[in-house]
Chain length 212, copies 2
């Protein structure tokens, strides 16, 4: 198979994809076709991983009782987080509807299988966290692939990972990495919600490159 | 600005990009145009981040003495790793030229600014590691964007992070996340090098989805 070359039109559209990918919090209730979700999950297997260990483990959370446990987990963590902000900032924070947990038709918990023998430990002796980082790379792959199909993904990080792990009854050795909401977005925005709502604008520091 | 829609041709090419992205270890010595590198670094700022904190910090490593320190760091970590493998596996491991450190025209260390006040701590109270995960998302953005332009990226994880941090004299509060090699690949392969060399094939476990 010959190596592919990507033309300028593709490069331009790819950059549009990066610019329009959003952390989606507001979803339409419309279901997502099961075959489409399966296809997106197939694509996650193409993500990079340390030693080719492929340690990501996706859990589809559909049981109402388990979803309720996750929502309760989020609400408790959110209340604790809120107590750390005062005045206007707290108001803003409270108004930000940070989780599409109630609206999103699909929920996925993502774990890292820390007990996996895949990859034989290659490349992660000095930096074992690279195994978790590999799961993060699979999440980003899903995120972009979903957006290509008009779907939105939201990453809920305001959650107690130990309680979430217990709620989901996963194999021992799996470490909680992320909780994701997936569905069709209510609206598309070029600007991130936290930016539109005055929380955090893009800053120049993330673009400074030290020369060493 | 209207929301973009991505057509089937783009979706197909995007999947080709995911399939052909490789962890590149063998580079041609050809330089990479500075403007192209700047453009790729611009694109990293579009990566998702927790609370929009944008905590990734790229360090361009060009000084020969600093590069030599990183290579010595890699060699020490590699020797230590090698002592953990026996027989055939060790031979294979030794043969794998795991770092393109000597060939790649551009080197980048990636840090996470753990002291940043950007994002005001939003969303990372229960899972502070999501700040590092945000830096990983920026790396994956760079990885894919580089491949669109025919460039290869290699992630060197066999490295002592504390020693690397010390070698590069970065601001305090920056945590070492990754060391990257960037350049034009010697050859393109659809199959990962670790797979071609019999180390680790793709496995079904990374595609199993638990139902909960």
């Amino acid at each position: 198979m010959n190596q592919p070359e990507f033309d300028q039109a593709f490069a331009r559209d790819f950059e549009t994809l990066l610019a329009w990918r959003r952390d989606v919090r507001h979803f339409r209730p419309d279901p997502v076709a099961a075959e489409l979700v399966e296809h997106l999950l197939d694509l996650t297997t193409l993500a990079p991983s340390v030693g080719n260990a492929q340690p990501w483990r996706f859990v589809s959370v559909d049981d109402p009782a388990r979803r309720a446990a996750i929502i309760a987990n989020f609400e408790a963590a959110n209340a604790a987080a809120l107590s750390n902000y005062e005045g206007e900032k707290a108001q803003l924070y409270a108004q930000l509807k940070l989780a599409g947990l109630r609206q999103a038709p699909r929920h996925f918990a993502v774990f890292c299988d820390e007990a996996t023998d895949q990859g034989a430990g290659l490349g992660r002796m000095t930096m074992p966290e690279t195994l978790r980082y590999s799961a993060v790379l699979a999440i980003h792959t899903l995120w972009l692939a979903a957006r290509v199909q008009g779907l939105g993904l939201g990453w809920v990080s305001i959650i107690d990972p130990a309680a979430a792990t217990a709620s989901l009854d996963v194999p021992s050795g799996w470490r909680f990495v992320a909780y994701l909401c997936l569905g069709y977005p209510e609206a598309d925005h070029l600007e991130p919600e936290l930016q539109r709502r005055g929380w955090q604008a893009r800053e120049a520091r993330c673009r400074e490159v030290l020369q060493r």
